[in-house]
């Protein structure tokens, strides 16, 4: 059993190393003027100073956060509402919900934004508003992850029995679902939410297709810098990465706090 544990630890460490190498290389590259041999030369923070003093960069980061958070909140609420109906009242409808939540798999990546773009560019306001299109498309993109997260967790905690118990104690179905079951599954759903956040935060294709130059997110900023300077590009990548890390840390923190309160 002990050797088993050791090999498990080793496997994890090897995968971690593999996943971190490109990141670490990017970090080092952003900190040195020249790297053409084993060791990089001439340490500098110039690339970071340039980015931090660039207002355009900060505005684009703000846009990215806004455009990630809004669709995630809306999508989670919408799916919870739909699951309230199918889980408690109409279990036979769940398969249709599931189909609707599986379709985004079939149109992910470049396909959905192209379909949306082809359809909505020629329709009247407000449907051709780029931000509106972007938020709605993001909601569809993260739908499978949010749905699956919520569904798995509902089954995982045995929500049916909890609702029955709550009803026996006099709670309404609505109360039982949203005040008893939902707070209990949100911990598990946070994983889906974080996955969604990662997807939208790292998105280039959807924003590039739907908004083009009209809505410069951090990824679009990055793509612009890429054509100019390698070192600065690496610095932007690292900064964006740290921001994502901060968001994840916040999510974990909120999650833990809720757990303590409960």
């Amino acid at each position: 059993m002990d050797t088993n544990k050791k090999s498990s630890k080793l496997a994890i460490v090897v995968i971690i190393a593999y996943l971190l190498i490109p990141l670490v290389m990017t970090l080092i590259y952003s900190l040195f003027e020249e790297w053409i041999d084993i060791l990089p030369r001439n340490f500098t923070l110039n690339a970071y100073i340039e980015i931090f003093s660039d207002a355009v960069f900060w505005i684009s980061v703000g846009r990215t956060i806004l455009i990630s958070v809004v669709p995630i909140i809306l999508c989670t609420i919408i799916v919870l509402l739909a699951m309230y109906v199918t889980y408690i009242y109409k279990p036979e409808w769940d398969k249709y919900i599931q189909i609707l939540c599986t379709i985004p798999y079939a149109v992910q990546g470049v396909i959905l934004p192209i379909c949306v773009l082809a359809l909505y560019t020629s329709v009247p306001k407000p449907f051709n508003n780029r931000i509106f299109l972007l938020i709605s498309t993001y909601m569809i993109v993260i739908l499978p992850y949010i749905y699956q997260g919520i569904r798995n967790n509902l089954q995982g905690i045995g929500a049916k029995k909890i609702i029955e118990a709550a009803q026996m104690l006099g709670a309404s179905k609505f109360y039982a679902f949203f005040r008893v079951v939902v707070p209990n599954i949100m911990n598990g759903v946070t994983v889906s939410i974080m996955l969604s956040m990662a997807i939208i935060f790292g998105d280039f294709v959807i924003v590039n297709t739907l908004a083009g130059g009209h809505f410069q997110t951090a990824q679009m900023y990055l793509y612009d810098v890429m054509k100019k300077s390698g070192q600065r590009t690496c610095a932007v990548i690292i900064v964006l990465f740290l921001i994502t890390l901060l968001i994840s840390a916040c999510a974990f923190f909120i999650q833990r706090k809720k757990k303590e309160e409960a």
Partner: protein, 278 residues
């Protein structure tokens, strides 16, 4: 009776979203793929015939399928090892691993492609080290090719697949392992006879997620090779956006071909999962 049905209102936002931004765009694209190029109305199979008869697009199909299947399989193998390790060792390292997986799942698309460019690109660090010390493999690393892309695709498949597989391992109970040991089974027989069969639905559904993820991936390929690589998503996008003459009807047909490939993957997975359920 009417009063009791009020709960149905809760379904409306979901339906509106799905109809407006999922169903109608897909139906519109599908219908348009049968319209002759440059016309508003009509019916033709010409767009589809063009995709499957022109070498340029045939190559895109082959490359896309190859890179998607290979990267999914490799990603899944690594994910299985990783998720199994998490399942078997509880503790701090697991938390670190989970955090890193969440972290690097954001590391895809343009940033990832650029990280590989600085490592293995024309003037990349590894490439320079390779040529300085006569390591042929590094000096001539084929990053700007389908194989280079495969390397990048495998990287972004690993965090996603591991994050999807880890929860599945919760289904494996300690008691089963003990029963297996009591009946004389080894660790190997446990996984081949009990563990993997139980996890199979999760493994297959993860595969389908990975396959679709790779098949429609665009940003990494675009950042690395612009439009100079024959992949379906690149060919699709260039019909609608960019410098080339826009061909929305032909592009719609490419979109439909891509969708069909992904539906096949999802259907195969569903079928296998159902069989396992019986």
């Amino acid at each position: 009776m009417n009063n009791k049905k009020t709960y149905l209102f809760a379904l409306i936002p979901f339906l509106v979203l799905c109809i407006l931004f999922e169903l109608i765009p897909i139906i519109y694209t599908s219908v348009r793929s049968f319209v002759p190029e440059g016309k508003d109305i009509g019916f033709t199979f010409e767009n589809y015939i063009n995709i499957f008869s022109k070498t340029l697009y045939q190559k895109a199909i082959v490359n896309s399928l190859l890179i998607s299947i290979l990267s999914s399989i490799i990603g899944l193998i690594v994910a299985f090892i990783g998720a199994k390790a998490v399942h078997e060792s509880k503790g701090k390292l697991n938390n670190i691993f989970m955090s890193i997986l969440n972290m690097v799942s954001n590391f895809s698309g343009v940033p990832l492609a650029f990280a590989y460019i600085i490592m293995f690109g024309n003037v990349g660090v590894m490439t320079m080290i390779g040529s300085n010390y006569g390591i042929e493999f590094l000096a001539n690393f084929p990053l700007y090719s389908v194989w280079g892309l495969l390397l990048i695709y495998v990287y972004f498949q690993i965090p996603l697949s591991t994050l999807l597989l880890i929860p599945a391992f919760d289904a494996i109970r300690k008691e089963w392992k003990e029963s297996n040991a009591l009946l004389g089974g080894t660790n190997f027989t446990f996984w081949t006879k009990i563990g993997i069969p139980i996890l199979m639905p999760s493994i297959l559904s993860t595969f389908s997620v990975l396959f679709a993820n790779a098949l429609a991936a665009y940003a990494s390929a675009y950042a690395l090779l612009m439009n100079n690589v024959s992949l379906l998503p690149i060919r699709l996008s260039e019909q609608f956006v960019g410098d080339l003459v826009q061909r929305p009807e032909f592009g719609s047909a490419i979109a439909v071909v891509l969708i069909v490939f992904m539906i096949i993957a999802i259907m195969i997975q569903n079928k296998l999962t159902v069989k396992k359920g019986i």
